[in-house]
């Protein structure tokens, strides 16, 4: 279950994008967990049609996933399938990252693809036909070449995995044995593990195979399509004409269906992976220089990792690293020896995997360092330099330290050390344990340590809170700007303030992803 402030932030995003009614339904799902339509009606006291419309909006924008479970109708009765709705918390938060996603595609595939993606992000899910309509609505007529160009760009988005086919709308979930014994009340209670299990099962059931998700579309007029979904890497090249005789007609129909029936959505996983890569490369670049950044980028790109949450080390062969590095600006001048030194600096493990020498690097350790940096900076500004030194000592070593020992290592007066440690402990940055030593008379000792899991959760919750505050302040200033402009005064101060806030929110969101998504 996400932190309380996270839920508030999600609700405020939905309110800002879709209005109060949709937000009410969404909030109900976020706070109470997965619910059926009847339950939503009971909790929100809205009319059935209102809720249905709200759910449609949320499903359209990939914020809610539906699935059905059987519910026995009483003794002897026939089990009836009931549709359940669950809110997709992460997808809701991704709504504030759309600008970043668009920038990723713009840098990688160019502005034409960016426009197509913008259409999908704005509308949640669309068929290719709708996308074409959208792109050509301002033009008097749609020429075949224009359509062809759109299709090529769209396929580039699909083959780069920025865009995917939508998951199954309503998978059927058989209850697992232990669920049958559980009461409905307990299921909707927020005992996270149990809820996650059924939600996760629904997500797995809804997910398409990779081959299905990223199968490109072909043109009805000139090409036959491969009915079986193709893997993204096998190229369905343009103009590769094949005759299937009598089958052709069917396939044309099939292609028309693909274009007009299949819904597409942005693949958030891929965008997160790109942003994670960006964060890791930026960190390595600032620490080891430009060349090291280029080497890491090449490694990640050639590794073919697909999920940002993937914690397995990134692996790449020396050949593919070389190839990747050469394609980067300034990479052509890097020698093999230089790259080897950098790989060593980055603590890459060399391993025998596939043909030739290959290297692996644990991105998790880089992300860990970035997370530490963020929390350490917080300690520095909040508690001062001495506290920063003490906190870094404790986080670096991971095991508990006694007060006097901390004072010695950190060069702080013993009395002051106690005060600092107490403050850090009170604000939940440290964990404290009292032990009694009988060595030289009875003496109470205090052991201090950073409990990372709990602290990280605490920081994440505060990050959500801060993001919520920033977005509310922005909304407030926008309101003020409107008032001021009506009075014909100069709104520059307000505009500057808003810009600072918007930039801060973008940066804060980077930190949010660091703790939540990477």
């Amino acid at each position: 279950m996400a932190a309380q402030c996270g839920l508030k932030l999600a609700v405020s995003l939905i309110t800002a994008h879709f209005g109060d009614l949709v937000a009410k339904v969404c909030s109900c799902l976020l706070h109470r967990g997965t619910l059926s339509l009847q339950e939503i009606i009971r909790f929100t006291e809205l009319s059935s049609s209102q809720i249905k419309n709200c759910l449609l909006v949320l499903v359209q924008h990939n914020c809610v996933q539906a699935f059905s479970t059987p519910r026995p109708a009483g003794p002897g009765g026939v089990a009836k399938a009931v549709t359940q709705y669950m809110a997709l918390f992460d997808n809701i938060l991704h709504r504030m990252r759309f600008a970043k996603f668009l920038a990723v595609v713009r840098d990688d595939l160019g502005p034409q693809c960016e426009i197509l993606l913008a259409g999908l992000l704005q509308n949640g899910r669309l068929t290719f036909g709708q996308l074409v309509e959208r792109a050509t609505s301002s033009k008097p007529e749609v020429s075949a070449s224009m359509r062809e160009g759109l299709r090529a760009n769209f396929n580039r988005l699909v083959s780069a995995r920025y865009v995917e086919r939508c998951p199954r709308p309503e998978p059927f979930i058989e209850p697992s044995p232990q669920e049958e014994t559980r009461s409905t009340r307990r299921r909707s209670a927020k005992t996270s593990e149990e809820i996650l299990s059924i939600e996760q099962r629904a997500m797995v059931a809804a997910a398409l195979s990779d081959a299905e998700r990223f199968s490109e579309i072909t043109d009805t007029a000139t090409e036959t399509i491969e009915v079986k979904a193709t893997d993204h890497s096998s190229d369905v090249s343009v103009g590769d004409k094949r005759k299937y005789g009598a089958l052709e007609m069917d396939q044309e129909v099939q292609a028309a269906i693909t274009q007009n029936e299949v819904l597409w959505q942005a693949n958030f996983e891929k965008f997160l992976l790109c942003l994670k890569k960006k964060a890791c490369v930026a960190h390595v670049r600032s620490r080891f220089g430009l060349d090291a950044g280029a080497v890491l980028e090449a490694m990640i790109e050639s590794s073919g990792q697909q999920k940002a949450k993937d914690e397995t080390p990134v692996r790449a062969t020396m050949d593919s690293i070389l190839e990747g590095v050469r394609a980067k600006p300034g990479g052509i001048s890097m020698t093999l020896e230089h790259i080897r030194v950098i790989l060593d600096q980055l603590h890459c493990q060399s391993c025998n995997w596939g043909a030739g020498a290959s290297y692996s690097i644990d991105l998790k350790s880089i992300i860990d360092t970035c997370q530490n940096d963020e929390v350490e900076a917080l300690v520095l500004t909040r508690f001062g330099k001495e506290a920063y030194r003490i906190f870094r000592l404790l986080i670096k070593n991971g095991h508990p330290f006694e007060t006097d020992r901390i004072a010695d290592i950190a060069f702080v007066e013993k009395k002051d050390a106690q005060g600092i440690l107490y403050k850090l402990w009170k604000d939940e940055y440290l964990d404290m344990e009292k032990v009694v030593s009988y060595a030289a008379g009875q003496k109470e000792l205090f052991l201090w340590k950073v409990k990372k899991d709990a602290l990280w959760e605490h920081v994440l919750n505060d990050l959500y809170h801060a993001a919520l505050n920033l977005s509310q302040k922005i909304a407030h200033i926008v309101e003020q700007e409107h008032e001021v402009s009506q009075r014909r005064e100069k709104p520059e101060q307000l505009r500057n303030g808003r810009m600072i806030l918007e930039l801060s929110l973008l940066k804060l969101d980077d930190a949010l992803m660091l703790f939540r998504d990477f």
């Binding site: 508030k8 405020s12 600032s286 620490r287 030194v341 060593d344 600096q345 940096d373 963020e374 929390v375 350490e376 900076a377 917080l378 520095l380 500004t381 909040r382 330099k385 920063y388 030194r389 870094r392 000592l393 670096k396 010695d408 290592i409 950190a410 060069f411 702080v412 007066e413 013993k414 920081v459 505060d462 990050l463 809170h465 801060a466 919520l468 505050n469 920033l470 509310q472 302040k473 407030h476 200033i477 101060q493 307000l494 500057n496 303030g497 600072i500 806030l501 801060s504 940066k507 804060l508 980077d510 930190a511």
Partner: protein
């Protein structure tokens, strides 16, 4: 009656004549060695009156047999120990303390020196830093290798210098490959400015009481208005 102690091997000098109370108190203080003893504990252990203890301590001090030392844990507690002992680390606070408080000037100067020498050497092992400081003869008092290790480690925690493993090539050519060495981070990294710590909420002491429509809310937040210079 306390057990008679063997005379300290170093103190060959004969004790001046002592009265009964002086002798009892002196034996007690001496038995505590480098930990010393607090006046209140003396009273408890000997059963003597406060005035008697004070008087006796004064006369023992005049005979140059005992001394008072500052306890860093509690400066108000007067602690006495025999003159031949140096206060233990628990009492004095260790080598970084002088007169019961942290010798900040000495620490500051030693840090500056360490940084200067690391910058001069570019990449240096602990031994190299120590040697370089010793050769420069800045300090009248000898500083130990242990002190340099402690100082440099604290500087690593402060992100003033970084700890690296030498690769033996390039910048590291002077240091044997695989050895731990240190490099200055001045102008390169240092403590990062976090994206959370640079906005008011990151350092706000009232963030837990802040709600969208509460008494403390982002709309009316004074920290925000100060930050954005939005004062009306």
């Amino acid at each position: 009656m306390l057990p008679q102690k063997r005379p300290h091997p170093d103190s060959k000098t004969k004790l001046p004549p002592l009265s009964e109370t002086e002798r009892v108190l002196y034996e007690l203080i001496k038995s505590k060695q480098n930990l010393g003893i607090w006046t209140a504990d003396m009273k408890r252990e000997t059963g003597l009156q406060t005035t008697v203890v004070t008087k006796t301590l004064k006369s023992l001090q005049n005979k140059n047999l005992i001394k008072d030392v500052v306890n860093i844990h509690n400066k108000a507690r007067k602690i006495y120990m025999a003159v031949e002992f140096e206060p233990s680390k628990e009492i004095s606070g260790g080598s970084w303390y002088s007169d019961g408080s942290l010798d900040t000037d000495f620490i500051r100067i030693l840090r500056e020196q360490c940084l200067k020498h690391i910058e001069r050497l570019q990449v240096a092992t602990m031994e190299a830093i120590y040697k370089s400081i010793q050769e420069s003869r800045v300090f009248k008092v000898e500083c130990t290798m242990q002190q340099i290790v402690e100082i440099v480690n604290a500087m690593v925690l402060d992100k003033e210098v970084e700890e690296l493993k030498s690769t033996g090539i390039g910048d590291f050519s002077k240091v044997q490959s695989g050895k731990i060495c240190y490099r200055s981070l001045k102008g390169r990294e240092g403590p990062k400015v976090g994206s959370f710590s640079s906005i008011p909420c990151g350092v706000c002491p009232r963030i837990s009481e802040c709600t969208p429509d509460g008494i403390i809310s982002p709309k009316t937040c004074i920290y925000y208005n100060k930050w954005l210079k939005l004062e009306f």
